[in-house]
């Protein structure tokens, strides 16, 4: 839900194969902020069956979905998780059993997506730098990697992520604002961006260090999308990061987003 672009939203909707997808918004990480819920409906209600679940307003009858959460969420084509504080969100989710429901939704083939906290939550480990010293947060673990978002927004993000991966955090993916990582099952399918210069990286530990490999990013506004291979191979890394542009500065941008889908094609053991 970038303010100035619907490219990422359009992309994730295209993954649902539905002319009028059922899309449910979870604004938990923002404390169910009203303005965020309004923004969601503005963006998604024209073309979708849009709904939201508020875990803070359920007693007042303004919690969006009032009936059984599991039934509702499992019937969606897309679940869109809003940004905010990932630790608060995961705590509230667990208290309401939403973590299990979302795992089930993923297995069932519901497309899961979200920016910032809505990206970090799907991974095994996440670098949260929301407050104070950055720390590792355990996500839902659907994707057996680590994740770092806002990679370009703050210069210390990259340094810290490298430090954590060097110190034993599992290998993973870093995305700049406006860039989304599209996974099928647990494999990275595509990296797409709403911006012409959006970047994403694979970050892995090596002997005595950390290696950062730039990933091929498709600009949604311009590039034709590369075909998604049925073998779910990772996109080829770009040969060099030498031409990397300097960090962009300025107003806060919407977060790096992440898209995760799992089609029930062939049963495959899930990561623990």
């Amino acid at each position: 839900m970038e303010r100035d672009s619907s490219l990422l939203d359009d992309y994730v909707l295209s993954l649902t194969d539905s002319p009028r997808p059922r899309v449910c918004f979870l604004p938990t990480a923002s404390g169910d902020a009203d303005h965020y819920v309004v923004r969601f409906y503005r963006r998604f209600s024209p073309g979708c069956e849009a709904s939201h679940v508020s875990l803070f307003r359920r007693d007042q009858g303004t919690g969006g979905v009032e009936d059984d959460l599991a039934t509702h969420l499992l019937a969606q084509d897309l679940i869109y998780v809003g940004g905010g504080n990932v630790v608060s969100m995961l705590g509230a989710w667990r208290a309401h059993g939403l973590d299990d429901i979302l795992r089930k939704a993923w297995r069932k083939g519901v497309v899961l997506c979200g920016p910032s906290a809505g990206s970090l939550c799907w991974f095994e480990e996440a670098l949260s730098a929301f407050h104070g010293a950055p720390r590792s947060v355990a996500g839902l673990g659907l994707l057996p990697y680590s994740n770092c978002v806002h990679y370009d927004a703050e210069p210390e993000r990259r340094t810290e992520y490298h430090r954590f991966v060097g110190d034993g955090m599992r290998a993973g993916f870093a995305a700049e604002d406006g860039v989304a990582l599209h996974f099928r099952r647990t494999r990275l399918q595509r990296v797409v961006s709403s911006r012409h210069d959006g970047r994403a990286y694979r970050v892995e530990p090596t002997d005595g260090g950390v290696v950062e490999t730039p990933l091929k990013v498709s600009h949604l506004g311009a590039d034709p999308l590369p075909a998604v291979t049925s073998k779910c191979e990772e996109p080829a890394p770009e040969p060099s990061s030498a031409s990397r542009r300097p960090h962009r500065r300025g107003a806060r941008r919407p977060a790096g987003a992440q898209v995760s889908e799992r089609r029930p094609v062939t049963p495959e053991p899930l990561p623990a």
Partner: protein, 274 residues
């Protein structure tokens, strides 16, 4: 950050409100005045935790409207917008004279506190002598259990257990809560405890109930225990804070009325007014 040791158990203070204070009584400051009177600090530092509401701006604004300028520091801690917090959580929580928890979802409140380790810090703050207070979810959380409507229908759930027994709130304003609580106490799902109407607060010194106070005339409270499978209920008569509207608690004392008549008469004689 001041390093403070533990205080004696009887000097640990919790004030639990069934409903009231700045978020529910914008025109009635009696309970919040009482909260401020509970600290001996000359320049009290007051922290508001709006967690149970999802850190709504409405609650934060109401807090500032009530307390700004009345304490040395009146700040809030948002666990959804932590970026605004400049100090580590430990330093923020352990450096307060009063910590005030707002109402909302008890389930979310405790889950989010736990996720950030705030539950442990709040126990520490209490042990150090910080006054803990709050209303609704922010009151029930200090007990062994309460009744939450976090998922819609009311249901019992455990609290932090600093205080023995359980608490149910809004006994008048949300009448569907009380029967669920009574059933839970009868069944032994929750220990016996207190049911508070809006405007009533319980003051605890350590784990002992010291006072029952109210900001509203006629607001009541009860103590309920399960004895041999039956509920034993005792009405508690709260002290009305401040003067209260005339006719409070079944009418002002005759002697007070008499005194007021005398005062009015004297003013009339002396100044020719009234």
């Amino acid at each position: 950050m001041s390093v403070r040791g533990d205080v004696r158990i009887e000097d640990r203070v919790i004030f639990a409100m069934g409903g009231g204070g700045f978020t529910m009584e914008p025109n009635n400051p009696l309970l919040d005045d009482f909260v401020l009177s509970l600290t001996s600090a000359k320049e009290p530092r007051l922290l508001f935790l709006p967690t149970a509401s999802g850190d709504t701006t409405a609650q934060i604004n109401a807090f500032q409207a009530r307390f700004a300028g009345r304490t040395y520091i009146a700040e809030h801690l948002s666990l959804f917008r932590l970026r605004a917090a400049k100090r580590p959580l430990e330093e923020i929580v352990l450096d307060q004279d009063i910590i005030y928890a707002g109402g909302g979802s008890m389930r979310n409140l405790l889950a989010i506190w736990q996720a950030h380790g705030l539950d442990r810090l709040l126990v520490q703050a209490w042990q150090h002598g910080t006054v803990l207070t709050g209303l609704s979810a922010g009151a029930m959380c200090w007990f062994q259990g309460g009744v939450t409507r976090s998922s819609g229908p009311p249901e019992p759930m455990p609290g932090l257990g600093l205080l023995d027994g359980s608490l149910t709130v809004h006994a008048d304003g949300e009448p569907e809560r009380l029967p669920v609580w009574l059933a839970a106490v009868r069944a032994g799902t929750l220990p016996g405890g207190w049911a508070l109407e809006d405007g009533v607060g319980l003051l605890f010194a350590g784990r002992r109930l010291q006072r029952v106070v109210s900001s509203r005339p006629g607001a009541g409270a009860q103590r309920v225990d399960q004895v041999a499978g039956e509920l034993v209920r005792h009405r508690l008569q709260p002290e009305l804070l401040g003067e209260g509207p005339r006719g409070a608690l079944g009418g002002t004392d005759d002697a007070v009325e008499e005194l007021r008549r005398v005062h009015r008469m004297r003013r009339g004689i002396a100044g020719g007014r009234d």
